[in-house]
């Protein structure tokens, strides 16, 4: 896994405890020798999820020739979650799988498929979790309604303030 995620380090058992607060303190107190040893361990550690030896997919890092199609593909890629680097969109991720997904999306856009149909296709494979642009559904409506409700609540509070002031003056 190429994503520099602290969580990932902890998940993999992070023997140095560098992620934790106490680990950092201990690290600060360590002498130069210890730090050098730690660095050499980190530098030579093999990642748990290696990449393959094959080159990146055709359209992983190459734009589509048609700028309008590329713009649509890019907009979609920015809202699809990388499955291995689980905090990044595939447009931002260096993971090989994200590259393969970018290539897949660009190829399908170039073939004339609509971004929303590709999104629906990915959701049917990986669940709604794969999209950063959640569809409006009974489960997700609080997500969409919360901002509007909070603004209404704020207006209600403000109205109370203004009315009181007017009554005084």
């Amino acid at each position: 896994m190429r994503c520099p995620s602290l969580r990932g380090a902890q998940r993999r058992g992070n023997p140095t405890g560098l992620g934790g607060r106490t680990g950092l303190l201990r690290f600060a107190r360590n002498d130069v020798l210890g730090a050098a040893a730690l660095l050499s361990v980190l530098a030579t550690a093999t990642p748990a999820f290696a990449d393959s030896l094959l080159p990146a997919a055709e359209y992983a890092n190459r734009q589509l020739p048609d700028p309008r199609q590329e713009a649509r593909a890019k907009a979609l890629m920015e809202t699809i979650r990388c499955l291995v680097c689980q905090g990044q969109a595939i447009s931002d991720s260096d993971a090989e799988m994200a590259g393969d997904m970018r290539s897949l999306i660009r190829t399908r856009i170039a073939a004339g498929e609509s971004p929303e149909s590709i999104r629906a296709w990915l959701i049917s494979r990986y669940g709604e979790w794969v999209t950063y642009d959640p569809p409006l559904e009974p489960v997700t409506w609080p997500l969409w309604a919360a901002p509007a409700l909070l603004v209404l609540f704020g207006l209600f509070l403000a109205r109370g303030r203004f009315r009181r002031r007017r009554a005084k003056s």
Partner: protein, 176 residues
């Protein structure tokens, strides 16, 4: 005066919000992504052989009346080495294992199989990961149990350990 309580409401909401944030930060981040296709037919695909002398894998060969165990693996994947003995054991029990080799080269595959054992009836070459994504698989290794009509019955995410064997065998028996 009677509206005093409402002054505390924003603070209360903020505390609830902080609670959500803290939960999100400290809850374990480990998250496996289940395929959305469990209980649904295998999508159509037709993979060429991953190495000479071994048939490739197509979705039609998974719909011929017998259940199958489909293992998504790669020679460059370290956990795949860990599960190799378990796949051997399944194969020795007479369970047919079909392989989907993700982003692999024939020579690397041959070396991997020579080193860690070769339980595979067929090996399809998924060079551009198209079929892995089609199946809703998010990594290697993953294992699917497919029934005789080609319906995905079970998905195992990650390496198969000794402790997972019973579940896999039960899923295979149930798919008969």
């Amino acid at each position: 005066m009677k509206r005093r309580w409402i002054l505390w409401l924003p603070l209360g909401l903020f505390v609830v919000f902080l609670g959500f944030v803290a939960f999100g930060l400290y809850a374990p981040a480990e998250r496996t992504i289940q395929s959305g296709l469990i209980g649904q037919p295998v999508p159509d695909f037709d993979l060429p052989p991953g190495m000479p002398g071994r048939p490739g894998l197509s979705s039609t060969s998974l719909r011929q009346g017998r259940p199958h165990v489909v293992n998504i693996f790669a020679s460059w994947c370290l956990p795949c080495r860990v599960e190799a003995p378990q796949l051997e054991a399944l194969s020795r029990r007479g369970i047919p294992i079909d392989g989907i080799a993700v982003r692999d080269r024939p020579e690397d595959l041959a070396q991997f199989l020579a080193t860690y054992g070769d339980p595979f009836r067929t090996i399809g070459a998924d060079t551009d990961r198209r079929v892995q994504i089609e199946l809703g698989s998010a990594g290697v290794p993953e294992t699917f149990v497919v029934d005789g009509r080609g319906v995905i019955r079970h998905q195992h995410i990650g390496a198969i350990t000794e402790g997972d064997m019973a579940t896999i065998i039960a899923a295979y028996e149930a798919a008969r």
